[in-house]
Amino acid sequence: MANIKIDGNELQVPDGITILEAADIAGIEIPHFCYHKELSIRGSCRMCLVEVEKTPKLVPACSTTIKDGMNIFTSSEKVIKNRKGVLEFFLINHPLDCPICDQAGECTLQDYVYKYGSAVSRFTEEKEHFERKKEIGPHVLHYSERCVLCGRCIRFCEEISGTHELARFNRGIRCEVDVFPGKKLDNKLSGNIVNLCPVGAMVSKEFLFKSRVWWLTHTESICPLCSRGCNIEIDSRDNRILRVRPRPNPEVNSQWMCDDGRFGWSFVHREDRLTSPLEREGEELVPINWAQAISLVKERLSFIISNFGREAVAAIASPYLSNEDNYLLRVLLHSVIRSPSMAVYQAAQMEEQIVFPSGFTIEADKSPNLVGAQDVMTVDGKKPISHGKLLKKVASGEVRALYILGGVPRISLPVDEREMLRKVDFLVVHNYAPSELTEWAEVVLPNLTFAEREGTFTNFQGRVQRLKPALLPPGEAKADWEILQEVCQAMGGEMSYPSVEKVFEEIAGAIQGYKSLSYKDLGTQGKVKG
């Protein structure tokens, strides 16, 4: 440990950290552009220069290691003048097009200029001009004129994605970031560059001109598109998602997310979202109300139970739905109907795992909650069977009624599995849109996507993380656990869960590994199960 002084505050900090990190511990902001926690240190923006006693020159806080007895001044006259100077330098050629810049409102340059800069410009020359809105990749647009040349994007492509598409070209005032000739910024992590950019130089093609950022509602949630469960923020407006960004979680996704997750949420706004329960009439599915739907399910299940026995009713849990949803399916089968025929839909989508040089990994399993679904469907240490095995029981006539939780964004069932679904006497499916699963269903109950959902996913590491609803459900669609609770009650069950939290409490009491967890304590970063 080293004893240092920052702006008169004496504190003890670990050896070997930088002035910037020490100031952070002391709660003192040192403005900076090129420094980024996850990237190598470049020291080129010169914004973070601070004064150190007995050192004649200002030193960069980002790269200067603290020494015992160091006396640091972060707002001395010299430091303040430098900040003003650097900001003025940035602004002389900056277009000041904030009113039409996507970054306005969350722009580091804008914020720093308000805080540390000068209100008037001394620059009377012609500004430098560059090509605007250059398409450098499928997701990213580059506005060179707004660039502060911090080089974060370049270092990201070198150090995190390892894809090396970007570099600085030309010198001096004509220096600009661009893709190498013949290359495109086309890698699975390219969207992160938009977030890394402290200004509006790298902007998202998808989000361009969609909204001023201050109109957005931010919801902390979890990406549902692979088993890593990157921590995300859903930015929405008027009940529509406008963009998704990663939230830092060092245990899961560092500061990043992949483009599959970042841009893969369009299914939420599918035109054909299911908005009311549906009943099959011949080839058609016709809308009914919830009371009708629940009593229909009750009637048909009861019929099967009384004619073929409890075990003739089976259920398939979904790795795309939350622990709470799947747990209620278990309650229905295990506690209310008392049938042991429970499976988890498995290996829905497996793609090649992608590991980047930084260690960031896109998982092969494209479902967000396989671990959790299996956990909550495990009864007395007996693991659920695979859905394939269960479908064989359907083929043999052992199973007559099938209750399937869907929620799968992209699915393709093998032909034989699809054919087996035809054989069931009664098929009820929860889903948010028509799919191969709903094709033969007698009753379809409209559920929610991740964006409307509350609850927990357990990622591939066993980290239990909370989803929060960013949008209101479309029409009469409901959360699966709510639907299942109504079915349970209709079937004679006496359980009552007023909230997801109550369901989670019961999971914590009943499921191996979840005992030490409480819903509130999961917080925004999640907790690893025991």
């Binding site: 080129s44 923006c45 650097v86 330098f89 002389i92 020359e125 010198r171 005032i173 220096c175």
Partner: protein, 430 residues
């Protein structure tokens, strides 16, 4: 007494050929170093000679070598900085074109001293003639076993590669040079770590100027005391002075350190063209602060010039006579620095180009009241705040030109035109 070290044999026909070089004591220094001295002794000899870097900063060479860690476990590199690009400087090219073996020998001895087995000459891309000569000389040196394996059967081996520069001023800044040598853009690195500990390919690295290294064989051969017989107490040896500008006999002159500037200009340089009046001198390459005509009594050594408010730098002496418009000259210099800024660090990239635009505007008769205060404040915002020394190199002329020739700048602004009657025979690109 002999008065030359480096240029002593410059006029010997075919001195570029190894046979001729050998006849003029060639490679005797290397033989002596390998056979009679341990590497540490070489460092001590060079320290004792007082040899200081000739690239501009004047850092003691032996001391620099002693910073190389002995036990890093990594390969040590030696880079000869032959990216001579400071305007007004043209001495290294001469040394390479005229006496390449002297440099190669100096490199071999230095490599031996710092336990380096791979050395590079990073040579300015435009120096095609020097490259041709060096390539030939390096091949000869390999043939005669002054380079390669088991040099002179003394168990020391050294590979020497010639690397053409990538065409920018900033590639001559030592860490920019290292980046360029590694195949990247010549963008200077943040220091620390210094190249002596983390340099080329992350190995300990010594970077020395052509002129510095060319002195080494002579120091080893004749001893530090002999070397100290040249120059002043703290600036030992001779110096190659590059005379250019409004002078009758421009060229490279090897003279002992400490020679008065006046003597250099008027005796050796033959005075000002057309008998006109001297107006100003840049003493050490374009980045060093300008001196006025009444400062020319200064002695040309590191300490004396520093005392006069400038720097010896690369000893590129640029002489300007009364027909020179100082605003025009400064516009030319700032344009150069603006063009050569690598662009990675903010004050240099933005500030230098801004200054260039303002100075150009003043020269074009569109100067505004307050421009000079603005320029000086921009300089203050660059001064000691950039990542590498180029920011300070760029403001050196601006601050000194404005301070020393302020009235001329004010005349431009007040009259809205350039009031100087220029020598039209000299063309300056705008």
């Amino acid at each position: 007494m002999e008065d030359k070290i480096l240029l002593k044999y410059i006029d010997v026909p075919d001195i570029q050929k190894i046979k001729v070089y050998q006849k003029h004591d060639g490679y005797q220094g290397l033989a002596k170093a390998l056979k009679k001295h341990k590497p540490d002794e070489i460092i001590e000899l060079v320290k004792a000679s007082g040899l200081r870097g000739r690239g501009g900063a004047g850092f003691p060479a032996g001391l620099k070598w002693s910073f190389v860690p002995k036990d890093s476990g990594k390969d040590v590199y030696l880079c000869c900085n032959a990216d001579e690009g400071e305007p007004g400087t043209f001495k290294d090219r001469l040394l390479m074109e005229k006496n390449p073996h002297q440099l190669i020998e100096g490199i071999a001895i230095t490599a031996y001293a710092v336990n380096c087995h791979q050395a590079y000459i990073y040579i300015r891309g435009e120096f095609s003639q020097a490259m041709k000569v060096l390539e030939q000389a390096i091949a000869e040196a390999y043939e005669h076993n002054y380079l390669g394996k088991n040099i002179l059967k003394q168990g020391f081996h050294l590979e020497l590669s010639l690397h053409p520069g990538a065409g920018s001023y900033i590639a001559g800044e030592e860490t920019g040079l290292l980046e360029s040598l590694e195949g990247k853009r010549a963008e200077p690195r943040l220091k620390p770590p210094f190249p002596a500990s983390v340099g080329l390919f992350k190995g300990p690295t010594v970077i020395n100027n052509v002129e510095t290294l060319s002195n080494v064989p002579h120091i080893i051969m004749r001893g530090p005391e002999w070397f100290k017989g040249f120059g002043t107490e703290k600036s030992t040896g001779t110096k190659l002075f590059c005379l250019s500008g409004h002078i009758n006999k421009p060229g490279v002159y090897e003279l002992p350190m400490g020679i008065p500037l006046k003597e250099l200009i008027f005796n050796y340089g033959g005075g000002i063209i057309g008998g006109r009046k001297l107006k100003a001198v840049i003493p050490g390459g374009s980045s060093t602060p300008v001196l006025t005509a009444d400062q020319v009594d200064v002695a040309m050594d590191f300490e004396s010039i520093q005392a006069a408010g400038s720097m010896l730098g690369s000893a590129g002496v640029i002489v300007m006579d009364e027909t020179t418009c100082m605003v025009d000259a400064l516009a030319n210099l700032t344009r150069f620095y603006s063009h050569e800024s690598c662009g990675q660090c903010t004050p240099c990239r933005e500030g230098v180009s801004w200054m260039a635009k303002i100075v150009r505007r003043i020269e074009d008769g569109k100067g505004l009241e307050g421009d000079l205060e603005l320029l000086l404040d921009i300089c203050d915002n660059i001064s000691f705040k950039t990542l590498c020394p180029m920011g300070d190199a760029a403001i050196g002329p601006v601050v000194s030109f404005i301070t020393k020739f302020r009235s001329e700048f004010e005349d431009h602004i007040r009259q809205g035109r350039c009031p100087i009657e220029k020598d039209k025979s000299i063309k300056v690109r705008g």
